[in-house]
Symmetry: C2
Subunit: 400 residues, 2 copies
């Protein structure tokens, strides 16, 4: 995607620079400056072994008035103890000095290897150059600078008419790359020039993440560094204050589209992935039940190797369903469809099902597994990928 296709977001300036955090020739440090008055909302990993920058970012965001984001690739600064926190704070101090703001107005993020100390001096040396190079253009380079084992940068953008104003939304994400395995780390940054009240922005990021990044799985492992950040610079349009507002709904719709596009891009670039699969669960008793079944199917190694082999081995689907459902399951009410092909009817093989039809669906690069539980009215879906030889190679042999 050429740079010109990604619009600028008024109130945002970016710079990507090489800090040589690893022995590589590329930009690996991203600085994002936010205009005064911008609102910022974020969600962070639920992993209780969370990284030093996650701890500091949570602390800072609670105090408001965020003016800068600093992101480094190549080192996660996780499981680094007290020194990890000291290092992270030092980078915030450096950004504060370069931009003439307070350290608490900086949110730090790291992605890369767990358990190695941040080469903090390299970051401190590179920050002043980044501050000098800040520019409204640069989202594509930003998406590239935060990559670790990703095979391609992930960007998404929309312009939407809201209250007569043309509002821009741009997002970048990284995650699920190759070669360097101890991450599965996901970082996403989405920015708009719209004006959104803080509490409403907090609600917006939760709503958008819930239907996007919280619906994907590559290997079922949650990283120590995941974060999704939503910035509203407030430069354009009236301040949005209520979720009843049509303008808010329109912006949320664009936000959700951006988040889903980025989340799907992470799965499609999943380690070793050759298939992109939607698992939809209908007629569940609750959303929680539907999601539990969908993730049990989408994370089962037996299901994922069958996806890889284009083998419509539906016995593994019923196995996973039976593991997810608690209490009694009336298996006679369970139906399963592979795209439009019904493979299971009333808990057993559908009479009209032919193996070739199932194989045809599973041979596609993208398809749908739809499960009807016959237990209620709730539906949910997730996106997942397959489990390939390449996955084992990436995660087993990267040091050799």
């Amino acid at each position: 995607m050429p740079e010109l296709s990604i619009p600028s977001v008024q109130g945002i300036r970016l710079a990507s620079v090489p800090a040589k955090i690893k022995d590589w020739e590329r930009n690996d440090l991203l600085l994002i400056e936010l205009a005064e008055g911008a609102s910022v909302a974020a969600t962070f990993t639920q992993n209780t072994f969370c990284a030093a920058p996650v701890i500091v970012a949570k602390e800072h965001i609670g105090k408001g008035a965020i003016r800068a984001l600093l992101v480094n690739a190549g080192n996660a600064n996780a499981a680094t103890g007290l020194k990890g926190l000291v290092d992270t704070r030092a980078t915030c101090d450096a950004v504060a000095e370069a931009l003439q703001i307070h350290a608490e107005q900086v949110l730090p993020f790291s992605t890369g290897v767990i358990g190695e100390h941040l080469p903090v001096q390299k970051l401190l040396d590179a920050i002043p150059a980044a501050a000098r190079q800040l520019n409204a253009v640069g989202w594509q380079q930003a998406a590239e600078a935060i990559m670790t084992t990703d095979t391609r940068p992930k960007t998404a953008s929309r312009t939407v008419q809201i209250n007569g104003e043309l509002i821009t939304v741009v997002g970048i994400a990284k995650g699920s790359g190759m070669i360097q395995p101890n991450m599965a780390t996901m970082l996403a940054y989405v920015a708009t020039d719209a004006a959104v009240e803080q509490s409403l922005l907090d609600q917006m990021v939760r709503e958008a993440v819930n239907v996007s990044f919280n619906r994907i799985s590559v290997d079922g492992d949650t990283s120590t560094n995941d974060a999704c950040v939503l910035v509203a610079t407030g430069v354009r349009g009236e301040l949005l204050k209520s979720d009843d507002d049509t303008a808010y709904r329109d912006l949320l719709e664009a936000m959700i589209q951006i988040h889903i596009e980025l989340a799907q891009a992470v799965v499609k670039d999943g380690e070793g992935a050759t298939k992109f699969v939607t698992v939809q669960v209908d007629a569940a008793q609750s959303s929680e039940e539907a999601l539990k079944v969908a993730f049990e199917v989408g994370n089962s190694p037996l299901v994922k190797t069958a996806l890889y082999a284009s083998d419509p081995n539906w016995g593994r689907l019923v196995m996973a369903i039976g593991n997810a459902i608690e209490g009694n399951l009336d298996t006679d009410k369970v139906n399963i469809f592979l795209d439009k092909v019904q493979v299971v009817s009333a808990g057993g093989r559908a009479q009209e099902y032919r193996e070739e039809s199932g194989e045809q669906v599973f041979s596609q690069p993208e398809f749908l597994i739809r499960i009807e539980l016959g237990r209620g009215q709730c539906s949910e879906h997730i996106w997942t990928c397959d489990f390939s030889h390449e996955y084992v190679t990436i995660n087993a042999e990267y040091r050799t």
Copy 2:
């Protein structure tokens, strides 16, 4: 192991015969006859999509006075609806007729492909021959007859002096084989000639399974057909009635040893497994917490590919710990040891740790990962295996 090394259990007769359930030349049907008065206790899969024989076996065992077990390999009779139940009951009827007992005194078991109807006529044809061939000798052939994708039969036996009587305990198990992937099915049968009151035998099977089969994982997927059955024929010794009884404790100890030996054999024969790893979690707040952490570590695809690669990638261990612990985790109190090598101290890399030491441990075919959480007094351990290219090959390519 030569047949002669497996003792007979008084009150048990066995026969293994070829029923040609699949297109293969081997025994695939096992009939076990129990002496009148034998006690039987069992645990079954928690999978709610459980197989027809599991439903029928649960029904029959509730009525007591079990006299026969019938086990077939090659077909799981799972996700087979009403016809699956009718087929299973027909096999019980055939055993009842051959042995002159009631159908409700027969426990049926199946293992193999999910979702295909049982070739019931083949079983009905083979059952009379099996009944004619019943013999006190034959545990080794029995262990072979119930194999599906296993690479070797799994047996274990002990003789113990209890109340002055020499009591025999023999067990067989199958599970986690190769080539035919939709199973991960585990079946285990343990028999003793001791006399144990029904309620005490129920307690014994729960206690023994809890520290053995409930502590293993190959791929985290629970099958639709798992079962573990404990038979006490009551031929030798006094009736054991109380768990305070020293004789009961001695028998339980032997039982637990047999169960653990069989459970470990299943993991060692796990699909594609090249490593056998004990994950021990100490200083947890509760047993549940310790087990949750142990299984999160033992089931993580990222950890399992690192085991395969002999790569002591401890960042993946802390990632899995952080995913398992809910609420707050004081990471400064977490220590991790690979056998005796301390790799993590106070939540970060141990100062004296050298990568070569970790690699040396991980290069062994068997080793221990020990995690100290620093949260309480509880310990638990599980046994797991690695995730290899062979696992993907077995589970992806068996049809090609």
